[in-house]
Symmetry: C2
Subunit: 196 residues, 2 copies
Amino acid sequence: MDNKAIQEQRMREYFIQATREILKGEGLRGISVRNIASKAGYSYATLYNYFKDVKELIFECVQDFQDECEEMVQSEIQNTPQGLERIKAITMAYMKYFIQYQGIFELFFLEGVVDMSGKKPTIELIVTFLDRLCESDWEYCISQNQLTKEQAEIHKAELRYVAPGLLLFYLNRKHPESYNEFKALSERQLNFILKN
Amino acid sequence: MDNKAIQEQRMREYFIQATREILKGEGLRGISVRNIASKAGYSYATLYNYFKDVKELIFECVQDFQDECEEMVQSEIQNTPQGLERIKAITMAYMKYFIQYQGIFELFFLEGVVDMSGKKPTIELIVTFLDRLCESDWEYCISQNQLTKEQAEIHKAELRYVAPGLLLFYLNRKHPESYNEFKALSERQLNFILKN
DNA sequence: TAATTATATTAACACTGTTAATTATATTGT
DNA sequence: ACAATATAATTAACAGTGTTAATATAATTA
């Protein structure tokens, strides 16, 4: 009954933890059912007693990685003044996290989902992540009459799509070639978006 | 000698043609070495006499798909006046093409490349594609003093990253849910970018 | 026509995710 | 405490994947 639920959650956690480690290390390409199970200390078939398939398992990691990313963002924007400047800093730190852990970028944005059943909340988590990170600052801008609600909505969306776009080209197509170029390019584009 | 080169190119074309058909139909998920070879009328191992691996083969299709996409774009912007408005129309048609052929979007932007050796020109083709589609219109805007060269560069980049970003969320994360919403959202964002 | 070269094919390897059958463990009733 | 039952973990198997080596077939040359 309750014991069973506790034990089941513990087992799930073993597999999730193993998956997290692989994703942070070798990335999505390093993931395999046998790989995960071995790291968790169980046979590969045991995994299917706790997850319906391997995709359900890896999407379980999203929340944890978002927490970790948010931590990194917070530590990087310590002394940045509220408002547009901080939105820029948050977005830069957000992208920096995914560059550090390319596998997590792949999980968040590239990994395909065939049947969305049950994964909708996780997808929503991913889609709204940057919005949530910047939420208080957008509200600040609106309260200071720097932006109308409608303008803020457009700016918000612009960041939401530009950031993964930039990451997609840099991580997946090596364009631009160096991190410094990427950083300069990103700052240029963010300045453009937030200047209006 | 020369005959040999002709025959070799013919063989390559058989495999490329088969790959194109699969990509347009079932998409990237339908691709497999045995699948391609069967469609081409050869055994799977024969493929390796003409391509070093399957990734080299599928990247050979990029140029053809770009030609096809450009054709579709041209036919959709017939009566659109030169300049910013046409840039918007081109970008919308560009996105429409990838929505029609999701597998080609995956090939262009999502498909991973481990060793870039030899694929650099293809990657460059992909990265600069939208820029090239809009090139004459950007030049028109500059010649009309609507934009400086530097401003045009920023706008160009903005489109370059926003379009795949929008497609990534829509095709890979079903966000927004309907095509009409996607279209409205895209137009909103494109208007924002090109209004400044 | 015979020997040689080039090309295509099959067999095999090491993987992948997933399911069914089997074994081991834990829980229950007596 | 022991036997019967339910639960959970394991191995075996299946149908795939990309790729390479060995083999068979076709074409070319002497």
